[in-house]
Amino acid sequence: MNLKTFKHGIHPTYNKEFTSGKGIENCPVPKKVIIPLQQHIGRPCKPLVKKGDEVTEGQKIGDVEAFVSTPVHASITGKVTDIAPYPYPLGGMVQSIVIQRSEDISDKTSNDFNNKENSKLDISSLTSEDIRLAVHSAGIVGLGGAAFPTHVKLSPPENKEIDAIIINGCECEPYLTADDRLMVEHSEKILYGALAIMKAVNAGKIYIGIEANKKDALSLIKEKSAHFKEIQVVALQVKYPQGAEKMLIKAVLNRDVPLGGLPMDAGVVVQNVGTAFAAYNALQNKKPLTQRVVTVTGPGITEPKNLMVRIGTPFSDVIDVCGGIKEGNKKVIMGGPMMGIAQSRLDVPVIKGTSGILVLMESDTIRDFYKPCIRCAGCVDACPMKLIPYRLSDFGRFHMTEEFKEYGGMGCIECGCCSFTCPSNRPLVHWIRIGKLRLREAEKKSA
């Protein structure tokens, strides 16, 4: 098979076998959910409910009138007990709505999100505007992790013509299998969702990019999409960070997204398979985004699982469903091991962008102090953006914002390939992040 890919990148150990064969189970309905009013990139929502209000599952509880924003919904039926800043998995505190589950709902309540039955979604009667509106009011964001409001991506300016959409089924982060399971178990819903997304941007073609290590998903999606002439499944080499938009567009269509530009500048819109699935639920079942698949995995988890989890469920509840955490020092990470965020506490909620909860024991992570750079150029050969990470990192550390800008530091996608590769264990991407921050501050000051 002729597998496509992009240049550079790395081959970490994938460790997907913890959960790759495990079907998506329903996570029991939690007693309490914490729903942050900002789970997306853009303007935070304002609460639409007050303390003491009764809410039902799927009810819109937060919204704001801004284009780059998206509403949040109650994921359980119950009573609002608090509206206050709560710890947030991306760090810091975020204004959140806490809902206590109502007593007449058991934790075994059935879950139509994980319903295996498919009904054909008829999009012929829908206009692009209908689809965009439905996606917006369902609170859908990019579910690959970045959590960018989907309706914004589906509203390209008129001068940008979109000829293709790419459905991202790479899941190139090690350990995670949520997208893989979704493709295996809900393949047709993803296809219908993708068709709707295609219609929303008036594109003519759908490419579904799947890495070759997901054999079941690849053959199933291929089989189910065979009778849609506008859908083409593209098998990709297994390589990180293939799921990064720019790399995926390069791999699938051999197009370069201009530096500082967006996928739409290359005529493409990229959506995650989870997002396509959510779009199907929004259009067909009128279900807002209140649940998502979360891979709970890693050597520190007693019983790794793929779970359909309600947004707002505390990490500790989800971990308990998987038999708890093993004893010892550990890292609890939201997302995958390459770009995920280490958590300092376990009472943070699952949010729309939570693709996984990964628990690594201390022995699985290297914590040695870094050594001098030996200029092996491993980072240069790994960087998918073709930057010079070892120099950028020094520019970032040492306040050399001019040089940082000259060397194109803002182009860094923070995939972490450089840090992963470095034999001196230097935290390159960390220093580059600092450089980006400093450059932004400097530019704000001079503006």
Partner: protein, 326 residues
Amino acid sequence: MPEIKEKKDDLLIVSSSPHIHTVENIPRIMHNVILSLFPPMGVSVYFFGMNALLLMLTSTVACILTEYVFQKGRKKEITIGDGSAIITGLLLALTLPPAFPLWAAALGGIVAMSLGKHIFGGLGYNIFNPALLGRAFLQAAFPVMITTWSAPLTGSIPVDGVTTATPLSLMKFEGQMTPYLNLLFGNVSGSLGETSAIAILIGAIYLLYKGYINLRQPFSYIGAIFVSGGIFWLISPDKYPDPIFHILSGGVMLGAFFMVTDYVTTPTTPLGQWIFGIAAGFLVVIIRLFGGLPEGVMYSILLMNAITPLLNRYTRPKIFGEVKVG
């Protein structure tokens, strides 16, 4: 609300991503390079006997001790275990004549590590290849000793007295050629580790297979020597040696696979690596044919080391998607 865990062995570790790391580290790379030097080392002992072994031992111990003294004196972490000092010691010894005095080899090791490496701040900060800098010092200080060559022996009798010329000086000063087969197997006079092209290739193939070196640098270096040597040969086949002789004789093989590929002192960008290799290869031929010395590998690499920072600066690759927007 915050649940602070008092138990010290049950903490949550927090750091920025990525949270996993390659198994590679500096000692692992260095130890693999040392392993890849075993074939040329073995051949040198086979052809030049105990003296070869003693030379390698002496210069390596000198390098390790110098590194230790410097790091102790500067109150820095002692890193003699990472293998980089051993590589410098071995590479220095491999470029010395078999009958070279041990005390002078030790001196070479001390200079290599102090002036070549630690004066700049240690591993990763040096400009010149330490082993070659050490050898350049020895060449300047002991010009006779370093050009006194012994004939190869196929036994372990110490080499004394029997002096002969290297294939390069035979070519340069007497217009005499050495058979390729001898150059391949190393059955010629020359520096310890430079005589056998096959032994060096075995080590190089191991490093290439492991991914520790790339082909760009050795290929461009050898290729440039082949092409520029070939041009002179075509102009005047009687006066100049053929390009294959250029490649197989002297330090070209060792230099191409173990010194032009050095991480610290050569460019990091692909284009820079090509330029480095081509320019250094061209210099080898110029020095060999028109310079006062029969061999040019050492100076070709040292000269290019000096402009490596410049090459890094001006050969920055185009960033992905770096085009004019609109």
